[in-house]
């Protein structure tokens, strides 16, 4: 029904057999993940066993994608240094660095140039 590896053992979702295609490598919280090259970041993370995408700014509660179509804003993660990106609307890219969003967006005071 689907291919399974060590790291994806706890994934809630996996691609069904027959969908294997080109892969790209992205990083989530430092961990390398090999994911299909034509999916959204949210899909890629869900298929890689990621359960918590962010902690809310107010209570630090764990959240994960809910609507998969860009209306719920639960899938927010930091992508390539930019906080609060909707991962369900962003396509994966080779070398992409993704971090879970911890609370409110952090600003990098060092980057004086936008």
């Amino acid at each position: 029904m689907h291919t399974e590896t060590q790291e994806t053992k706890t994934s809630l979702f996996l691609p069904e057999v027959g969908t294997e295609g080109k892969k790209v490598r992205i990083y989530f919280d430092g961990q390398p993940l090999d994911v299909p090259d034509d999916v959204s970041v949210a899909s890629a993370l869900l298929m890689s066993g990621v359960r918590t995408f962010r902690l809310t700014p107010i209570s630090g509660s764990a959240r994960a994608p809910y609507c998969m179509m860009g209306v719920c804003f639960e899938c927010l993660v930091e992508i390539d240094g930019r906080p609060s990106r909707q991962s369900c609307l962003t396509q994966v890219r080779d070398g992409m660095v993704v971090q879970h969003q911890e609370g409110a967006s952090a600003l990098n005071l060092q980057s004086a140039e936008s």
Binding site: M1, F13, T19, D38, S40, S43, Y66, C67, V71, C72
Partner: protein, 462 residues
């Protein structure tokens, strides 16, 4: 009108069945058309990823999904400009659309506009609905359409509505194990829907489709509960089980993935932001923008077509799109009036046929009161700002008459989703507390940006 901004006869926002159909129709009369959508590829949500889908996937998803392929092909051939990945952040009454594309803010101008932003899943405010591992059934369907991903463990589907049953069937066809189908629809719903069955029978194709789905699900031996209520999802940091009331007893099913669904509702951010009048529809339990028979808001040259004008389904949405395209071509004098009238009537007749089953479906699959208006004060209503049902009720006690006041008092509706997931709930809670109609309570004041956009992106427009 701003200089240096490209002008089209028609701008369409939304590349689902309604938007694509409006574009194709308008193009057939020689109008210049541009279609914008946040997604990079066409199809909206119902035909999500239709262009890249494999034959295997189309088989699993069924003929209704596969039908989108022709629409996508016709659109690709019609000569409209397609702006995929364009997040619209403002539309003004002058029909200037501001959007975000490739990291910069841009503007585009239309002589006319079709808003076709479709539908979204109705929020499902029950205890634990914010836990990781809880998603919409429609969300899971999008996940499958766009990446071929299916659940790894036996999954729970809970709620009501045709999409829930469709997903169950699709999952079974894909070899997914369904742990339980927990239906709120029960005998009472069938009795209440019975008076509408004549209309449903006129739409007999749709009705037989539904019964075939149920038969298939049962034949797979899926544990099914009907007439269920009072859902609650339990778990420490993620979903672990769902509890519900069934036949007077409290029951529990363990699951790490719970897919909730209780119908879809129009996506009305754009129509509210234009300050169009909306009326509360007690049958569909949502806000419907007020338009003329062809979907025009007052005399603005701005049309609404498809599910964002009221839930009508994919086929009727496509018809409404064609109707809007036709009406706009008429407004811009691109066809003789007799042609317009004849074609308008034909499309209206088609729409009638496709929507005959709606009163039956809306009544049969009516979401339960307690799943829309939380009884438990601890239920999170505003997910973004973590505002609970009890807090909203308190604000009403202090004197808040409507959602803009509760927003001011408690930040409910002020988060990044801009009220999309809490708006209906808040309006209904206030109406219930005040014992007045939702119409009287009103809705959030929707303001730009329609989608969040960074300050740098805004500052980049020259």
């Amino acid at each position: 009108m701003a200089t240096g901004v490209e002008l089209f006869d028609l701008l369409v926002i939304g590349a689902g069945p309604a938007g694509l159909s409006a574009a194709i129709e308008a193009r057939s009369f020689g109008l210049s058309v541009a279609v914008l959508d946040e997604q990079r590829r066409v199809g909206g949500q119902i035909y999500r990823a239709i262009e890249e889908s494999s034959s295997r996937r189309r088989q699993v998803l069924g003929p209704d999904y596969a039908a989108g392929a022709k629409l996508a092909q016709d659109f690709a051939a019609c000569g409209a400009v397609h702006l995929g990945g364009a997040a619209v952040w403002n539309v003004d009454k002058g029909k200037t659309v501001s959007y975000l594309l490739d990291g910069g803010s841009r503007k585009i101008q239309g002589r006319s506009l079709v808003l076709a932003s479709g539908a979204m899943e109705r929020p499902f405010p029950v205890p634990g609905w914010t836990l990781p591992g809880v998603m919409g059934a429609g969300a899971a369907q999008i996940l499958y359409k766009s990446s071929g991903a299916i659940p790894t463990e036996p999954v729970v589907l809970a709620g009501c509505g045709p999409l829930l049953l469709l997903l169950a069937q699709q999952y079974l066809d894909a070899g997914v194990k369904i742990k339980a189908l927990i239906h709120t629809t029960g005998t009472g719903d069938y009795l209440r829907a019975a008076p509408h069955v004549l209309g449903a029978l006129r739409g007999w194709k749709d009705l037989s489709k539904g019964s075939r789905m149920l038969k298939k699900i049962r034949s797979h031996g899926v544990q099914t509960f009907t007439g269920a209520s009072a859902f609650a999802i339990e778990g420490a940091e993620k979903a672990e089980s769902i509890t519900f009331t069934h036949n007077g007893q409290r029951k529990r099913v363990e699951a790490s993935l719970v897919l909730l669904h209780q119908g879809v509702v129009p996506n009305t951010q754009l129509s509210w932001s234009l300050r169009a009048e909306h009326r509360w529809d007690e049958q569909q339990l949502c806000w419907i923008p007020v338009t003329d028979a062809c979907g025009q808001i007052e005399e603005t040259g701005i049309y609404i077509a498809g599910d964002s004008r009221g839930i009508v389904g994919a086929k009727a949405s496509a018809c409404q799109g064609r109707l809007a395209g036709l009406a706009i071509a008429n407004q811009l004098n691109a066809l003789p009036p007799e042609t317009f009238r004849g074609r308008e009537q034909a499309i209206q007749d088609e729409i009638s046929t496709h929507t005959q089953i709606r009163p039956f479906l809306d009544t049969l699959y009516r979401p339960q009161d307690m799943h829309r208006i939380p009884v438990n004060d601890e239920v999170t209503v505003c997910r973004c700002e973590e505002v609970k049902a009890g807090q909203i009720k308190k604000y009403v006690e202090v004197g808040c008459l409507g959602p803009n006041q509760t927003k001011a008092f408690g930040r409910c509706g002020m988060g990044p989703c801009q009220g999309r997931l809490c708006g209906l709930t808040v309006t209904e809670i206030i109406a219930s507390e005040r014992k007045v109609s939702p119409q009287e309570v009103g809705y959030y004041r929707i303001r730009p940006p329609i989608k969040p956009i960074t300050l740098g992106e805004l500052a980049s427009f020259e």
